[in-house]
Symmetry: C2
Subunit: 219 residues, 2 copies
DNA sequence: GAATGTATGTTGAATTTTCGACAAAAAGGT
DNA sequence: ACCTTTTTGTCGAAAATTCAACATACATTC
């Protein structure tokens, strides 16, 4: 039925739940498969926050626009990741962010209440799923925390270095690819794009950084 | 036995769990009561992140210091609130923050694994507690999100106004008390203290703000 | 391969923050 | 009431960001 079993069984939401139970779980959640083109809006700011999504293919970006049209990129979700679960589980009415597809994306959507209201079928793995969701939510919170730590630095230089050091740490080596173009990186770090470019050049001249396009190397 | 039943039964961790079950639950969690003086460290950055705390009396502050001694105030927890649960539930090894008592504080501590590893007594409300914890964690995440939105503004003025507008919204009126002194507010907003004082004065002169000490009024 | 559009790097002027220093005001202790 | 300590407000110089404008590099399309 579903083309994405391989992806789904690796999703943290279904951790410790055998693949053989996946069909039952998807039925229990009443998931709907949706396709989005690059740039399309998956959830719009202000919508009711009841839906949770799982990325099957592609990638989505969680972002926000202020009065003046300045974009803030909060986070991203790629294959197997959940999105929207924080807002749905917190029980707020309206989404404070938008979710935008950054590539052609397939996603599975379902209503959060399917998880939190104990399911009528009393399916065996429902319990495990709530525990998985707890861990996912906590880890998402940790991500927000890490971003806050980065943008808490006062200067463009310090924000950039904090970001690059984290990327290097996650990659496990000093060479890594940054998943943003310059404008998006500026929107993630909350700095000016041209100032960011200037700072990258400066770090390059100082011999601290090597980079071509999105390939970075810390020295 | 415990002096804080009134507080605990109102804690979101024990929502939907009758007071008559509280003693059993506390036993199941193996909670330990601890007292901290004002300024004392409850958890230190770098410690193993396995403990969860509940504030019974007083207040704690979640904060971080960088290399240069600049403090960042991430959040606060007061009577009935949990702290540390995000890091414990995310399953990370070391705490990325410190928890400091801002007043004389009593707290109940317990190990996160008491919640996540199903309890040997199979106590009836364990399930409800995990669900409560999921909601708490999601709401905590939302708080982080709100702070990120505030500090994503570029100028001291915009950060301050965004913060004050949120406080007014939460208070439900234009007069409210800010729970920080000037230095702490600056550390929460990620701005310079003297610049913050200057900006408050400016807003006052412009007739946008009235304030005496920690009493603010938006006009 | 020429043309078009987008992304990136560079620069200078205006604005804002930062930092240190200091004075005034408030709080705390004896 | 006095002294001490902490908090808060103010100021000016140095540093950094922002903003707009422009040049160059890169991609895509026809």
């Amino acid at each position: 039925m579903n083309l994405y079993y391989d992806t789904l069984k690796q999703s943290p939401l279904f951790a410790q739940i055998g693949q053989e139970n996946l069909t039952a779980m998807l039925g229990c959640l009443n998931t709907r498969e949706k396709h989005y083109q690059k740039g399309e809006t998956v959830f719009a700011e202000g919508e009711p926050a009841t839906q949770i999504g799982i990325v099957c293919k592609g990638e989505v970006q969680i972002e926000r626009m202020d009065y003046y049209g300045n974009r803030t990129i909060v986070s991203r979700a790629s294959r197997g990741d959940l999105f929207g679960e924080t807002f749905a589980c917190a029980g707020i009415e309206q989404l404070p962010v938008s979710v935008i597809a950054t590539e052609d994306t397939d996603a599975l959507l379902f209503d959060c209440r399917r998880i939190t209201q104990s399911c009528c079928n009393a399916c065996a793995f429902h319990q495990q799923m709530i525990y998985n969701l707890l861990k996912i939510t906590a880890q998402k919170s940790l991500r927000l925390h890490q971003r806050a730590e980065i943008i808490s630095h006062r200067t463009t230089r310090d924000k950039l270095l904090a970001y690059l050091e984290r990327q290097a740490k996650e990659a496990g080596k000093n060479r890594f690819t940054v998943p943003f173009d310059r404008q998006a990186l500026a929107d993630y770090l909350e700095v000016d794009r041209s100032g960011l470019s200037a700072e990258i050049s400066k770090l390059r001249r100082e011999g601290i950084l090597r980079c071509t396009k999105s390939e970075f190397e810390l020295l």
